[in-house]
């Protein structure tokens, strides 16, 4: 029989691998997210052209595209389990915390895949100035962590509720606003030559706070 700590690590890893395999088979989330990102960037690029001087608009547009491209899939990682009736199986093989951490890791992998396509496309199509790569990638990583942690928490909380679509919007708005505020101001600052330490610290602290709250809450989720 397995022991608890080793079984939790195994469960998190198994859930991450299962999510990757399921997504690879169905392409459910990735194709919709990439379609949104590519269509949005192409449309904006045709409409307003390249705008290297408008770093404020560029920073906002960059995070809006990332947020909306990924949000549908991030919010559905738990809902898919409920609607596919696989939650009973999951709860039989892993603790709620392990399930949620596995989902969080998957959401981070998913975001990284979206960013791998979206970032170069954005820089080319929008004519953004060359980023200060260290600062830009640090902000991207911290913003992604905060975004994934927030949406995983909200997704887990609303998964078994009725009217979860409306609930997700209502609950995630206040949680995502600080992420967007920190990420946009940091990204703008790195293009404008300003300091990025404060927004980076805000994103890191916020992500850690959300993770801490999540770890306290997860084991009490889905108690019927």
């Amino acid at each position: 029989m397995p022991t608890e700590p080793s079984s939790s690590v195994a469960a998190i890893w198994a859930i991450l691998r299962k999510e990757c395999r399921s997504e690879w088979r169905t392409r459910y989330g990735i194709s919709a997210a990439l379609l949104f990102a590519i269509t949005t960037l192409t449309t904006v690029s045709f409409a307003v052209g390249r705008m290297p001087d408008r770093t404020d608009v560029l920073a906002a547009l960059f995070w809006i595209v990332l947020l909306f491209a990924s949000l549908a899939s991030l919010s559905h990682s738990f809902v898919r389990e409920v609607e596919g009736h696989t939650m009973t199986l999951l709860r039989q093989v892993a603790s709620p915390t392990a399930i949620a951490l596995g989902k969080l890791l998957w959401n981070l992998v998913f975001l990284a895949a979206i960013e791998l396509v979206t970032v170069p496309l954005f820089l080319i199509l929008m004519g953004a100035p060359p980023p200060r790569w260290a600062a830009f990638l640090a902000l991207l990583a911290l913003g992604s962590l905060a975004l994934a942690a927030s949406s995983t928490l909200v997704g887990a909380l609303i998964a078994q509720s009725r009217g979860r679509g409306a609930l997700f919007a209502a609950v995630s708005l206040p949680l995502l606003l600080p992420v967007l505020a920190g990420a946009v101001s940091g990204t703008r600052a790195q293009w404008a030559g300003g300091a990025v330490a404060a927004p980076a610290q805000l994103l890191a602290s916020y992500a850690l706070a959300i993770l801490a709250v999540s770890l306290v809450l997860y084991d009490h989720l889905w108690e019927e």
Partner: protein
Amino acid sequence: MSGAALTLAPPRTVAVEARSLAHRFGARVALEPQQFRLDGGIVAVTGPNGSGKSTLLRIVAGLLRPSAGECVVSVAGRALPPLARRIHAGLMSPMLSFYEELTVGENLEFAAEARGLAAPRRAAAAALERVGLGARAADRAGALSSGLLQRLRLAFATLGSPALLLLDEPGSHLDEEGRGALETWIRSVARDALVMLATNDEREWRLADRTIQLRGRDLGDPA
């Protein structure tokens, strides 16, 4: 299903005790107060539809928190918190669904790996052989018939040879051969595990050493 291949781990003392255990969903009574202690063997849980058979099994499995009383599951004299029960309990339930985009083998491998079993691939293959699904390991789970899906549920419940087996209507959808093998198998595993069978099927409850008869109320009767 092959009865011969069903060798479980050495006997472990598992006990389930219900102390004034009851449950309701909102105002609706789902399980009337129960008081029992089970130490091993085969226990049939019978009763009319809506009397709480599945609810009782889900509470024992730790998936449902009872609204009154308590359910204590202990292994080797040590009481397990609800979240730790999944390691020692295998649940077969009509509510158990699998990932349709994954194969039969991948579903069980995932479950074995997530449960922290050593050699998950081997554990999954052994469980599939046990229920006669070895040849269907590469098929997508979504393509299985209801009878084969029931066998997959049984394979899932037996992963890691749990000390407590909770089988909810295990014979439903099975053909005659499958039901015969299931009965042989249940007798075989009950030597080392406590088996709780939620059933109204006479062939299944005749296997039991003991019966818990749930009275229930009339369907739809509020509290």
